[in-house]
Amino acid sequence: MTHAHTTTAMLYLDGVSVSFDGFRALNQLSLAIEPGEMRAIIGPNGAGKTTMMDVVTGKTRPDGGDVFFYGGDFDLTRLDEAEIAELGIGRKFQKPTIFEMHTVEDNLLLALRGDRRVRSSLFWRDTRAQAQRIDEILEVIRLRSMRDRWAGGLSHGQKQWLEIGMLLAQEPKLLLVDEPVAGMTDAETRQTAELLKEINRDRTVVVVEHDMTFVRDLGVKVTVLHEGSVIAEGSIDDVSANERVIEVYLGR
């Protein structure tokens, strides 16, 4: 799978284009995320943020362009969702997507890194190491007391955290987080920013977000998308001062 391409980036997109029925969702998008980085991606509706995640996680095949993972070692355009997940890319959906009918513990158990094949799940035995790992994650996502609850009964914010916890359980190298604070209270939003910073200590994180206060709280490099391409990159203060960005956001 080694490719001639030389890059040190964890995630590298070059000239990626995607069209749906003539609509260009991504237009020659190029982007590089370095290992250990946390990057915020912002942009108005229809800028191509979710499509970009779909391309990286194998849900959508690009019409053209390169998508490389882990220093150019893996060409993501050739792999499907399960293979990409196994490589170490976790994805959090915009709407909290958890297994409502399972307990909080089982949600994490299903997400824990391990053999995903049919046979091994038929003859699965819980181990102490797994229980410990679940404990650790519950601690991080602040849901320790909810362990045996039905996940469907959690509050909206707790569901978002549980989903982030499930991503952690996968032990991914790269986390893609789509609008984690949509619908959260101010306190939950602040806690979520803390949580993502904690996670970023050992993992690369890409956050797509609308909420500017939250992006400011994160204090990381920001990429602005518009009509499927990058129009600005830099600190939140730099991009907010960028004329092109102001034009796009204010529609002038």
Binding site: T57, K59, E81, A82, A85, E86, G90, R91, F93, T97, I98, F99, E100, M101, H102, D106, L109, L110, A111, R116, R117, V118, S121, L122, F123, W124, R149, W150, G152, G153, M166, Q170
Partner: protein
Amino acid sequence: MHAFADRTLGRVGTVFLASILVVAVAVPVSNLLFPPGSPLHMPSYLVALLGKYICYALLALSIDLIWGYCGILSLGHGAFFALGGYAMGMYLMRQIGTRGVYANPELPDFMVFLNWSELPVFWYGFQHFAYAAFMIVAVPGLLAFLFGWFAFRSRVTGVYLSIITQAMTFALMLGFFRNNFGFGGNNGLTDFKEILGFNVQAAGTRAALFAASCLALAVGFVICRAIITSKFGKVLIAIRDAESRTRFLGYRVESYKLFVFTVSACMAGVAGALYVPQVGIINPSEFAPANSIEAVIWVAVGGRGTLIGPIIGALVVNYAKTTFTSGMLAPYWLFLLGGLFVAVTLLLPRGIVGTIQHFWSQRRQARDGEGAVPEPSPAPAE
């Protein structure tokens, strides 16, 4: 053994399994050991009737495994049931030998009637019970595997999947109706004489077939419980409730669906095979789409995603069917069945057993004083 009962079956499951086994013994004993006229005697016609119900219950159980736990609504499960039935019918036909109307030692009557001179290749081997038993499981299993291979890999889900399962059973029905298909055309296979050397009409044989059906149901129940209590079962529920989340966690959803769909089809095949010697005939009408839909109704009435519910649903609905279709209400049975489905969907969406389970879990919560925990009810039907 105790740990197994605890972990895999649960308390209710253990009691239920024990009841099936008690019935498996009690009914034959009452039929064979008590003389007619005794209040404890069960007439043979009733044994055969109950045996038929038990086979339906196994079919319902197989549907619940995929529909209740993985969200795959098959409207063509009757096809797997019928294929198992045909495999058994072929064995029974080959046992007739020279006792047929045309007394041909090799060819079943319908082939002689069609002026065929030799046995078609796919009938070879069916004179051996072991081979037939293998085919009873293998043919439905193989069809389900091929069907699922294409359907699940192409990510056909929901209503679309239901429709193509329906088309599958319809296509098979049309095929089996044809004389040149080699399965007796519209008359199907009948006039059976012996099974394993015993007269199929004899009271002892019927009692044994009844016990075998109960045993098959018990084994099917244990297999289903083992599947759903494993991590595999948790993945199935995850697929049912959030398929793309399961995919992004790295699970190969199509492999999970394929496995459980194939297991379910094999169970349906066994149910069909036990059904045929008890009713004495198998014909293409068993492939009729309406049969498959009726089986789904049993599951809905009993409570999907409960395993015990569909078994009870199959027994209750079929008892009602027998009662209604043998009296002056017979012309109205289909209206009643349709009305029952509508009523259950609207008034009792969890089904009989699902509603009872819900009631108990509510009570337990009230007693334990836990906060608002939502009931673990299955997502609405596809």
